[in-house]
Symmetry: C2
Subunit: 394 residues, 2 copies
C-alpha cells in the first residue's frame, strides 16, 4: 500500500481549529498595548463580548487558561470557612470543588455522577441544606458532553438569592448562554473553544451584584484575578488593562468576533445544532450508544460509548496516527470507554461527515462489527433534511 | 510637504518586536495540547528555558501576564500575617508590595525611591528588622531603567537563609540572571520582553527549596498558580500541563529559543550591552541627563530626563504620531519627565540609531536646543569602536 499523506483534522473540544483569517492576523507585527492601534482593538473586543454571553454587564478579560477564569470566580466569590455549593457532573465540575476547597470554603459538593445532568432539584437541595449564598456549576461538561439546563438552574439560584457561577468554557459561542435572561450572575469562559481562537484568554462575565459581592472583601487573597481591579481598568475611556494583555490573542479574537458577527449568533447556534444532530444520528446508525442523556441541546461535543469488542484506548490513537483525525478519548474513569468528537467552533457539516468516515474505518479496523458508510448516511440524511448549507436550518 | 508614509517602529520594553519567524509560526494550524506534535514543542521549551535563567531547576510556565508569575511567587511563598520583605525602586517593585498586602502578609516594604538602586544593605536591614524568611525585589525596574545587583542581593538573602523572589520580567534574556550562581530561589519573568514573543506566557524558575516551602501550606489560597501542581505536570514524562497551555505562544517561544540558541546567550547579552552603551552615549552627546545611576549593566531600557524647555508629555506622542516610533514616557510621578527607549529583545544597532534620529527631531520640533545628528554620531562612534556587527563586541 502506498503511504498516504496524513492530512490533519482537529476535532477536539479545545483547542479547536482556527479560521485562516484568525491565524493570519497573529502573524502581523505586534502592537504596544498602550498605543491607539491596540487600544482600538481592545475596546472593540470588550464592546462586543457581552452579546456572546447574552449579557449587558462587564466581560472581564484575563491572560489565562479557562481555569484561570474559574479561579477568578472562586477567589472573588467565596469566603474562607463560609459555605459554597458545587453541583458537578464531570471532570470540569469537579474542578470547581477543588478550587473552592483550595480557597478555604466550606464546600458543599453535590456530585450527580459523570454522564448525568445536574437537575434543578439537586441545586435547590444543596442551597437549602448548606445555606450558601454562592454556587458553582457547569453549562457544557466537556468530559461527558452533557449540557445542563441553565434556565432551570438560574431560577433555583435566584429563588435562594444566591450568586451562581457557571463554567461555560466549552459552551460559549456554541450554544446560547442567555446570561441575563437566565439571571446568572457569573459566567466564565475561554478563547479556545467556539470562539475560534487559540487558548490563553479567559473571560468572566459578571453582574454588578457579583462585583459588589467581590468588593466586600476588599480584594484579600487575590490580585491578578481581582475582578474589581480589571473592571476599573476596562471601564475607563479608553479602556486600560491593569496588566499587559495578550495582545496577539486579542487581535485573533477581534477577527473571530467579526466572523461571528458576519454569520450571526443565531446562525452560529443553528449550525452547532445541526452538527450535533448529524453526529448523534451517525452514532445511532452505527448502533453505538450515546454517553449521557440524548439531548438536542448537547451540541458542543458528542460522547459515544465504544463497543466492548474493541480496545477503546486504541480508538483516538488510530484515528490520529493512521487517519489524521485528532479526537479525544475518555478522561479518568472513562478512559477507553468513550470517544469524544467535538463540533464547537470553526466546523462545517463536511468536517463531521469526514470524521465519521474515519471513525467507521477505525472501529472496523479494531474489530468492531460496523457497517461502513452507515453512520455517514445517517449524518447526510440529517443534513439534507435540514437543508445544507446550515443557514437553511434556522 | 508630502505626507510621509509613517512606518512603525516599536521601541517599548514589552511588547517588543517579534522576529518574522516567530510571527509566522503563530499563523500555522493550531495543535491539540495533548497530541504528540504539541507535546514535543512543550517538552523542548521546558528543556531549554532553564539555561536562559542560568538555573538547573524547574521553570514553571503559566498562561498569564508577567504579573501572574509575580502573583504565583507571592501566593506560593507568603503566609497570612507572617512577615515578608519587599525592596522596591519603582513601579514594578511596588507591585510586589501590593501583592504581599493582597495576600495578607505583614509586609515590610523598603522603598528606596524611583531611580535609585536597591542596595544590599537595604535588603540586609529589612531582613534583620522584620525577621522575614521571604523577600521580593526587582532585577530590571522597567519604570526607571535601573538594574539591581543580583549577586549582592542574593548573597544577603542567603546570609539570612531567606528565599528571595526576583522580578526579571524585563531582564530575562537581555542581561544575565545567573540564578543558580547568584543563589536566587525564585525568578519570575514573561514572554514579551527579550524573549521576543507576544505577551501571555509567564514563568517562575524555582529551586527545590522554594517548591518545598510552597508545599508546606498544602496549596491553600491558590490553584491555577500553585507551583507544585504545575511542577508535578511538567515533571511527567512526557510533560503534561495541568491546564490548557497557550499553545500558539509556546510555538512562538520554541522558535524564539531557536534564535537565541543560534546567536548564543553570551552574544545576546553582548548585543544588549552594546545597544545600551550606544543609547547612553547618544543621550549624553545631546546633553540630556540619564535618569538613575549611570550603569554599564542597565541595558534593558534607557530612561532619559527630558529638558525643561519641552513639554515632556508631547515627546512620546510626537515620536509615535509624527515619526512612527513608539517609545514609552514616564509612569506615575515621572509622567512628562522622562522618555524610556527600550533595547531588550529583537533589536540591532540600526534600530537604536534610527530611534535616536527621530528623538533628536522630536526634541528640536518641541523647542529644545538640540544639535541634530550629535546623538547619532555618538552612538555610531560606540558601535564602530566595538566593531559592528555586534558579534565582534564579545
Amino acid at each position: 500500500m502506498p503511504t498516504p499523506y496524513i492530512k490533519q483534522y482537529l476535532m477536539t473540544a479545545g483547542p479547536t481549529p482556527l479560521p485562516p483569517a484568525v491565524s493570519q492576523v497573529m502573524a502581523e507585527p505586534i502592537l504596544y498595548h498602550r498605543a491607539p492601534a491596540f487600544i482600538e482593538v481592545y475596546a472593540r473586543v470588550l464592546e462586543r463580548l457581552p452579546a456572546v454571553f447574552g449579557a449587558a454587564g462587564d466581560v472581564l478579560t484575563f491572560a489565562a487558561s479557562g481555569s484561570g477564569a474559574m479561579e477568578s470566580a472562586v477567589s472573588n466569590l467565596v469566603r474562607p470557612n463560609e459555605p459554597a455549593v458545587v453541583a458537578s457532573c464531570g471532570k470540569f465540575g469537579e474542578r470547581w470543588n477543588d478550587l473552592c476547597d483550595g480557597f478555604g470554603a466550606a464546600t458543599h459538593h453535590v456530585d450527580v455522577g459523570w454522564g448525568n445532568r445536574v437537575e434543578a432539584a439537586d441545586l435547590d437541595r444543596a442551597l437549602s441544606q448548606s445555606g450558601a449564598n454562592v454556587a458553582f456549576t457547569t453549562l457544557s461538561e466537556t468530559s461527558t458532553g452533557v449540557v445542563n439546563d441553565l434556565a432551570a438552574l438560574g431560577e433555583v439560584a435566584r429563588s435562594h438569592d444566591a450568586i451562581l457561577g457557571v463554567d461555560a468554557v466549552s459552551a460559549l459561542g456554541a450554544i446560547p448562554v442567555d446570561q441575563d435572561k437566565n439571571g446568572i450572575d457569573v459566567v466564565v469562559a475561554g478563547s479556545q473553544k467556539a470562539l475560534m481562537c487559540p487558548p490563553g484568554l479567559a473571560f468572566a462575565s459578571v453582574s454588578d451584584r457579583a462585583l459588589e459581592h467581590a468588593a466586600q472583601t476588599g480584594g484579600a487573597g487575590r490580585f491578578y484575578f481581582d475582578w474589581n481591579r480589571t473592571a476599573k481598568g476596562q471601564r475607563k475611556d479608553p479602556p486600560d488593562s491593569p496588566f499587559t494583555p495578550a495582545v496577539t490573542l486579542f487581535r485573533a479574537l477581534d477577527v473571530a468576533l467579526d466572523l461571528i458577527d458576519q454569520e450571526g449568533l443565531d446562525q452560529v447556534y443553528a449550525r452547532h445544532r445541526l452538527l450535533g444532530s448529524a453526529m448523534r444520528a451517525a452514532a445511532k446508525a452505527l448502533e453505538l450508544e450515546l454517553y449521557g442523556p440524548e439531548d438536542e441541546n448537547a451540541n458542543v461535543v458528542t460522547a459515544v460509548k465504544l463497543p466492548d469488542s474493541v480496545d477503546g484506548t486504541k480508538v483516538p490513537k488510530m484515528m490520529r496516527d493512521t487517519y489524521g483525525f485528532t479526537i479525544a478519548g475518555g478522561q479518568n474513569q472513562l478512559k477507553g470507554k468513550i470517544a469524544r468528537i467535538a463540533h464547537c467552533g470553526y466546523y462545517g457539516p463536511f468536517d463531521i461527515l469526514s470524521t465519521i468516515t474515519a471513525f467507521e474505518m477505525t472501529l472496523r479496523e479494531l474489530g468492531a462489527d460496523v457497517e461502513l458508510g452507515a453512520g455517514v448516511a445517517a449524518g447526510q440524511q440529517v443534513l439534507l433534511e435540514a437543508g445544507v448549507p446550515a443557514g437553511a436550518a434556522a
